[in-house]
Every structure is written in structure tokens, then in C-alpha cells.
Symmetry: none
Subunit: 204 residues, 2 copies
């Protein structure tokens, strides 16, 4: 079926193995010491380093916590800039079971930029009032084709093609298309940076 599954699957393990090795040698920790700090057996740590084992996210969390760095730092190839990512709205457009609306995740959520970028197609007559998101979430609506209405702070605002609005999405809001043409818009949802935690000098 999906030939992409096997292509780089080992690669992610090798990546992880390398990063674990680096993190450990950077601190001069032995496997024993690392086992104590992370709560993961040294046998398993050794296997992961050799690429012989693919840890679960639970144990990876233990490892990251033991090293006092973020989970993704073990997975994401941090070297500055990644390759270009091409997307096509037609290819990723799909209809959620719950809604008579087409959603195309142009750019799924990515921690580095902190937002996800969706293309929405609202059928004529479509209406949807959305629950508040988490605190700090900001939405941006830009109308591409035809017109639609956005519910903000209890009021409906009509937007035409070329109109845009930024609003706090941590309170009730909604969208509707009261025209007889399908409305096309972009919806960029920005989540506030979270990283508040970890990172402390190992002085304990």
C-alpha cells in the first residue's frame, strides 16, 4: 500500500540513536549514569543507541526528561532550515464527517512557526458555531472567493473576497455562508508558544 512507510523508517531510529549518543557523550555520562538520570534501563539505552530498538514515546519522554531537554529535540533534525515543502490544496482537501465543509490542511501545525494553515470551503447555507479554543489562540480568516460571515464577540461580520480578520479564538466564534455560492477562505490558527518548562542547569 503505502511505500513511504518503509523508506525512511529506519532513518528516524538512526537519527534518534545519534542524538542520544551525542547528548550522552556531551555530558560525559555513562550508560549507568544515564539509566539513573532517566529511569530507563541501561540495556535499553544501549540498544537505542545502536539502532536496535525503537523506543515508545513514553520511554522517549523519560529520556528527554532525564536529559532536561524537549522531546522533539531528539526527533527533529534541528539543523537550521529544512527542505522546502510543497503543498496542493486539491490534494489534501477532505470533508470531515461532522461537517458539510471541505478542509484542506495547507500547512499542518508545526511547533517552529506555531500555527496551522487551513483552506476551508463553505457550502451554501453552511453555518457552524465553534467552541472556544485554548487561551491565547488567535485565528485569521482571509476570504479568497465569494463571501461569508464570521461571528466574533456575538456579532456576525460579512467578509468579501480580499477581506481578512484577526480575532481571539479563545471565546465562542463561528462561520457561515448565507449566499448561494460556495465560499473559499483561508484559516490560520496560531497557538501561543508553550515551551515554558524544562531547561535548568544540571546543578541539582
Amino acid at each position: 500500500m503505502n511505500d513511504t512507510s518503509e523508506k525512511e523508517a529506519p532513518d528516524v531510529n538512526r537519527q534518534l540513536a545519534q542524538r542520544l549518543r551525542d547528548a550522552r557523550s556531551e555530558r560525559g555520562w555513562s550508560l549507568d549514569r544515564t539509566a539513573q538520570e532517566t529511569g530507563v534501563s541501561k540495556a535499553m539505552l544501549g540498544q537505542i543507541e545502536r539502532g536496535k530498538s525503537s523506543p515508545t514515546v513514553a520511554t522517549l519522554w523519560k529520556i528527554a526528561t532525564g536529559f532536561r531537554c524537549s522531546l522533539s529535540s531528539f526527533l527533529a533534525p534541528p539543523p537550521a532550515s529544512g527542505p522546502a515543502i510543497f503543498r496542493n490544496a486539491d490534494a489534501v482537501r477532505a470533508r470531515p464527517a461532522s461537517d458539510p465543509m471541505l478542509v484542506a490542511p495547507l500547512f499542518p501545525f508545526e511547533p517552529r512557526v506555531g500555527f496551522e494553515w487551513l483552506e476551508l470551503t463553505l457550502a451554501p447555507g453552511y453555518t457552524r458555531e465553534s467552541e472556544p479554543h485554548a487561551p491565547g489562540v488567535v485565528e485569521h480568516i482571509v476570504v479568497i472567493e465569494n463571501s461569508m460571515e464570521v461571528l466574533i464577540e456575538g456579532e456576525w461580520h460579512r467578509l468579501q473576497a480580499g477581506d481578512a480578520v484577526r480575532f481571539a479564538a479563545d471565546r465562542p466564534h463561528g462561520y457561515r455562508n448565507s449566499s448561494d455560492e460556495p465560499a473559499l477562505c483561508h484559516n490560520l490558527i496560531h497557538y501561543p508558544a508553550m515551551h515554558g518548562q524544562d531547561i535548568s542547569p544540571a546543578g541539582a
Copy 2:
């Protein structure tokens, strides 16, 4: 010893479960469909969504690949709040003195979100090669009307309406419109915040 291992271990699984649920419902995919796209059995997908199972990084990689998004997007917390701002592209559209191109700053740079969002109108025959931006700057181009070409890593890529691309803008890049119709696109420029990414191997 280290009792921190158990405190939030389940939490990372719940986080992951939620994001998987969201990603799936966002696309309107059933468990079956998701199993086909990712190459992971639907039984396992169901268990992960219910927090009953902590996948290995290998299977998490399969899932992320199936959803065409990054590994860390499933681990990095779906994070943790101004009046609404209405904008209209026609009203803010202007021609820079330097370029035969129309620029409409839909949303000027705002530290809170870390990006600026421009609407560009490229006249037929327009071409422009841009100097690299600061390190870590990421650009997003989404074509709204007609077609254009983007220069990335020394190669020109043709984009049609509905196509999108994300690329590192800290190296030479450019845009051109070799058609005979004006091309309309959005350009979102994201500037890295201080937070960057952590991982502090202070021991070096």
C-alpha cells in the same frame, strides 16, 4: 531516585492521543482510512487515540508521514490571549517604489504571532530575485489566482492556484510571473522568536 519519570508519563500519551484525534477529524478520515494512509493498523490507531497504548517512534513516524506532517507536531504540546482586526486587501494594496508589484500587508508584523502576511500581485513578466533574510526566517507562498514560479535552492518551481510551498528564506530565493495574466498570491513571512529551540548541552 528519580521519581519524576512517572509523574507526567501518561500525560504525553494523552497529548498525543488528542493531537491524533484532531488531525484525523480535521481531515474527516476514519480509522480505516487512516490505517491505509499511515500503514498502521486501525486497532493500534484506536488504542493510541484512547491513550491505551504508547507507540514507538517508528510507528509514530509512520503516522506523521501518513498525515504528511512532522514528527514533533504530534508531541509538541497543542499549547497552552485584543479586539478583532479587520483588513481589506483592496484598501491596503500599494505599489512599492522599487518594484512593479502590488503589495498588500494583510497583517503587518506582530511579535505575538511572529509573522507578517502579505498579498502580492505579480504583473505579467515580473521577476525578482530576493536576498536572503535573517537566519531562521521561513516563507510561505500560497497561490490564489493564476500561476507563478518560485526560486528555491537554485531551482524554479511552477505553482498553480491552490499550490503552496514553505521554504527557508535565509538563502537566495525569488519570484516571477512568466505568464500573461497577473498572478495573485499570499506571502507569509515567519521570523524566529528568541525561544528558538532549546536543547542546552551546557556541559560542552
